[in-house]
């Protein structure tokens, strides 16, 4: 199963501009599996992005809306994208600032579906 998870993440990392991808436990902010995360602090990505998604989820809940199905945090030097997956997991990608966000989102969603 772990090989399948890594395989799904490799499809994400094949998108041009994606620097790494991982599966994260949403509540704990810990890495479950990762792919191509060279030069990236995976534990930090997991913890920090899980925190952002959780916080945003509380904001959408306060707004009477459902939890986020996709989150895109854009910065000057890169971006973080996340899609929730079953079993309280998140699929997260770290990208360059310029990237085809639509394509990354599609691949993240497919990876998330394969985690069911």
């Amino acid at each position: 199963m772990r090989a399948d998870i890594v395989g799904s993440l490799e499809a994400v990392t094949r998108v041009r501009g994606v620097r790494g991808a991982m599966v994260v436990s949403a509540e704990e902010g810990l890495v479950v599996a990762e792919s191509s995360m060279e030069g990236i602090d995976g534990a930090a990505v997991a913890a920090l992005m899980a925190g952002v998604v959780a916080r945003l989820g509380r904001a959408t809940e306060a707004a009477g809306r459902t939890a986020p199905a996709f989150v895109h945090l854009q910065a000057e030097g890169g971006a973080l994208l996340a899609v929730p997956a079953p079993r309280d997991l998140l699929v997260v990608a770290v990208t360059d600032a310029e990237v085809n966000v639509g394509l990354v989102r599609l691949e993240l969603r497919q990876a998330a579906e394969q985690l069911a």
């Binding site: 902010g29 930090a44 920090l48 899980a50």
Partner: protein, 153 residues
């Protein structure tokens, strides 16, 4: 936040700010309190420091018995709060950190920033600490003095 050793203050303040931890206790491996945040009663500090030291000692012994190696960190997730316990080495000896967090934080964040706290403490800790023989009476006096200091009395 209260600290016995002044050089602990800044790194610990940064840890508290970044991790959003609710309670923090830093002790020596023998349970002597070095710093605390969030505790309101001296009794709680004493109990937590004793229990933390005991848990780490038990875990290390268990690791030795089962040849699984010493465990430096433990975590426990309760219904609304989580607990993180970790031992680390400074020139002053082995210390233990006990962190309690709620949904404003996570185990991942606590671990991330605790690792940074340890690195910062290593960087600022005085390099030479004269060894002292600790007598039982001295220990109790020191503990009481520490507690008074930690609660601003």
């Amino acid at each position: 936040m209260r600290v016995i050793e002044p050089w602990v203050a800044e790194p610990l303040q940064r840890f508290l700010s970044e991790s959003s931890a609710r309670l923090v206790l830093l002790t020596t491996a023998s349970g002597q309190v070095v710093a605390q945040h969030g505790f309101t009663r001296a009794l709680d500090v004493m109990s937590a420091s004793a229990l933390g030291a005991a848990i780490m000692a038990s875990t290390e012994e268990l690791g030795r018995l089962t040849a699984s190696g010493a465990s430096r960190a433990l975590s426990h997730q309760g219904p609304s709060r989580g607990l993180f316990l970790s031992a680390f080495d400074l020139p002053q000896g082995r210390w233990i950190g006990l962190v309690v967090y709620d949904r404003d934080s996570s185990l991942g964040l606590v671990r991330l920033f605790f690792d940074r706290l340890v690195q910062e403490l290593l960087a600022v800790a005085p390099k030479e600490t004269p060894a002292r023989e600790v007598l039982a009476a001295d220990f109790e006096n020191e503990l009481n003095a520490s507690l008074r200091s930690l609660f601003g009395r």
